[in-house]
């Protein structure tokens, strides 16, 4: 009788676990370290909850296009990493992605504060759980700066003064900083935000807030940086083709000794460095008479569940495992920045799994002040309006005033289209 009862119990358990086991898909973007960690996390979380998860990962470039096409066709993965500004595009009314509030019995939402929950909500529906908070910070290669005999800069003037020293002491090929493409556009935006105290686009009115003169002042910084050998000119950076910073040998060898990046990308930019090269974050550089430090801070990426998925509960289990449960948290580590989930942050801190430099960077992001960033700042058409016209200025095709005129025109057009 005992044997029969045991057999029955085992059979029931087996049937139950088979019935619950799901084949899921999860998509994300990132660098190699994030890809490896996420696959490991999916293995342990899948094993824990009895699901199989197929990973679908890419680099940053092209991920927005791919994900949007999938969502339009209803073929997106069950669980997705979504950039925060994209929420308003995918789910303006809150129905484009699953409402995670419905899975509150599976996902421990108490690990996020109200502001973070609001950041991930659209029209009252919790469409994405913030994975981390991120901000653009200055990060410098301390090895190269020491070689140049300089302390890390605190002000824009310090940075500008470092250019000639790098050229003289280290050679023509050494630069204390880099800025091309989007990085250059965001540097210009930061400089203008500090000077004016206003964001480029007003979150309340969806309108451009800077005057032409203010924009000219910000754009002119780019030329100052190039003229003083602080950054390689746009044309020279383009000489290697469309190569991101972390794939650029000049970065990994320390010849480019500074950049302005999301703090959540620490591993992406630190992993390629050759042995002996060290990085350090500094406070946002300051300028005389600035009105704000101008931090560009946002809820970083979020995890979302597809509104079309028929396996939302299983996806919620995996989501909770990745963000809140010890196995998933441990495997993911800080490959998406310092976790926003309180439990995860505490676990990684106790395990010394958050590198001191990441803690320091996150503190700088959280502590710094700056006007709220409008999600439209991250729309491709707005970014293109900034970048394209800055490129024209960088190549000497237009002067700063003409570039400002064109930028205002193009940004207004883009905002009009988005509305």
């Amino acid at each position: 009788m005992k044997l029969r009862t045991l057999s029955l119990a085992l059979c029931t358990t087996a049937i139950a676990s088979t019935a619950m086991a799901e084949d899921l898909r999860m998509s994300w973007w990132g660098g190699d370290s994030r890809h490896a960690a996420t696959q490991a996390a999916l293995e342990v979380c899948g094993a824990k909850h009895g699901h199989t998860i197929s990973p679908e990962f890419t680099g940053w470039s092209g991920h927005f296009e791919k994900l949007t096409t999938q969502i339009a066709g209803g073929t997106e993965a069950d669980l997705m990493q979504v950039n925060w500004p994209w929420l308003s595009f995918y789910s303006a009314d809150g129905t484009g992605l699953a409402d995670l509030n419905q899975f509150a019995q599976i996902i421990d939402l108490s690990n996020w504060d109200d502001a973070q929950i609001v950041a991930g909500s659209m029209n009252g529906a919790l469409n994405g759980l913030p994975i981390s908070t991120t901000g653009r910070l200055f990060v410098f290669n301390t090895t190269t700066w020491a070689k140049a005999g300089l302390d890390l800069p605190k002000t824009w003037d310090d940075l500008i003064a470092a250019g000639p020293v790098f050229r003289e002491k280290l050679g023509e090929g050494y630069y204390p900083f880099e800025a091309a493409g989007l990085d250059a556009a965001l540097i210009v935006t930061l400089y203008g935000t500090q000077a004016t105290g206003k964001p480029l686009i007003d979150p309340a009115t969806n309108e451009l807030t800077w005057t032409k003169e203010e924009l000219v002042n910000a754009i002119s910084l780019y030329k100052t940086l190039v003229d003083n050998h602080v950054i390689e000119g746009w044309q020279d950076r383009a000489a290697d083709g469309n190569v991101p910073l972390h794939e650029n040998p000049e970065w990994s060898q320390g010849m480019i000794a500074g950049t302005y990046q999301w703090d959540s990308t620490y591993f992406k930019i630190s992993d390629p460095l050759e042995d002996g090269q060290e990085l350090a974050y500094v406070d946002l550089l300051t300028q005389d008479g600035q009105k704000t430090p101008g931090i560009y801070r946002k809820a970083s990426m979020v995890f979302s569940i597809s509104a079309n998925s028929e396996k939302q509960e299983a996806a919620a289990q995996i989501l909770n495992c990745l963000l809140n449960e010890p196995e998933g948290v441990s495997a993911l580590g800080t490959t998406r920045g310092v976790p926003a989930s309180r439990t995860a942050r505490e676990q990684l801190s106790e395990a010394d799994a958050i590198q001191p430099i990441q803690v320091e960077a996150q503190k700088k992001v959280i502590d710094a002040e700056g006007p709220a960033i409008h999600p439209m700042m991250e729309f491709p058409s707005v970014r293109a309006a900034l970048q394209d016209n800055l490129e024209l200025f960088a190549y000497g095709e237009v002067d700063a005033t003409e570039a400002a005129d064109e930028m205002i025109l193009a940004i207004n057009e883009a905002l009009e289209d988005i509305k």
Binding site: F64, E65, T68, T69, I71, A72, F89, Y90, G96, W234, Q235, D236, R237, A238, A239, D240, G241, N242, V243, P249, P380, S381, D388, E391, L392, Y395, E397, D417
Partner: protein, 294 residues
């Protein structure tokens, strides 16, 4: 076969026909409709009449630039590629030891040429510190800014396309081998030199193949995407921003499918006009054996 089913042939062509209808004919018609709409992929298309075309032709400076770059690219790529393919085909038409190996080797770039990996390799070769500049400096020259200099970037992309000359070359080679040898013998007896044999016998007899390659290469050049997307992303200053890149950006970055469709239809019309022009001029320079006009 006859007795079993008179529809057997239809069954054979059905997979292709279904594919053609689903993946070519339907998108073709749909894109024409969408070109008159405002459609962001996530919500229903909204009819806007000719607004997309009006914007395209009256106030879109990016389109103007992209169109100029595309035409420059096509008019550079196609003649260079055809001339090079023909030259190599003539060389490979000689009876040499191991000629089969050479023919295969020259065809390989065509198999690999359109791939992402080759575009990445091209990017490294022409980078500031890449192989090409290493050779140039070893020969005593100054390194060239291939991708960052607006004057050079399009040329670099063009070279990638021209490097993929294999398919055109194979077709030329087949045409060269089909030329009647007795014509060369007759020409030689009459005292014609090798260049004259080529100019007055070979070239006229392979004009149908030149015409075919011209059309195919022109159409393909107008559709080039991989090279500029991977290597330069359309820069610098949009000097490699070919129309297919612009269509892609509008469709999948700005999610303005209606506008992207309008650009695609303008591109289609340009290709169609140039093809018709080529057919019209072909009456004057293409020789078909047995054609009484000749």
């Amino acid at each position: 076969m006859g007795g079993d089913s008179k529809f057997l042939g239809l069954w054979y062509v059905a997979p292709y026909a279904i594919g053609l209808i689903l993946f070519t004919a339907f998108p073709f018609v749909a894109s024409f409709y969408l070109s008159f709409t405002d459609y962001n992929l996530l919500s229903s298309p909204e009819w806007v009449g000719t607004a997309n075309y009006e914007k395209l032709f009256t106030r879109d400076r990016t389109f103007d630039k992209s169109l100029k770059v595309t035409l420059a690219y096509v008019f550079m790529t196609v003649p260079i590629k055809l001339a090079f393919a023909l030259f190599i085909a003539v060389v490979l038409n000689y009876r040499l030891r191991g000629i089969g190996l050479f023919r295969t080797a020259y065809y390989v770039p065509s198999i690999l040429g359109g791939s992402i990996a080759i575009a990445v390799l091209w990017r490294y070769m022409f980078a500031q510190s890449g192989l090409i500049n290493m050779i140039i400096t070893a020969l005593g020259g100054e390194p060239v800014n291939w991708f960052g200099d607006p004057q050079n970037a399009l040329l670099t992309i063009t070279l990638l396309r021209c490097w993929q000359f294999g398919s055109a070359m194979v077709i030329f080679l087949a045409a060269l081998q089909s030329v009647d040898k007795s014509l060369y013998e007759a020409g030689s007896i009459d005292g014609a030199k090798p260049w004259q044999l080529f100019r007055y016998i070979t070239l006229p007899l392979i004009t149908p193949v030149i015409f075919f390659n011209l059309i195919m290469q022109t159409v393909q050049a107008f559709q080039e995407f991989n090279g500029p997307y991977i290597i330069t992303e359309g820069g610098p200053l949009k000097n490699t921003y070919l129309l297919p890149l612009y269509i892609y950006d509008e469709a999948f970055k700005n999610f303005d499918m209606g506008y992207a469709s309008a650009i695609a239809w303008v591109l289609f019309c340009i290709i169609m006009c140039l093809t018709l022009l080529a057919f019209w001029t072909s009456k004057k320079w293409v020789y078909y054996a047995g054609d009484k006009r000749n």
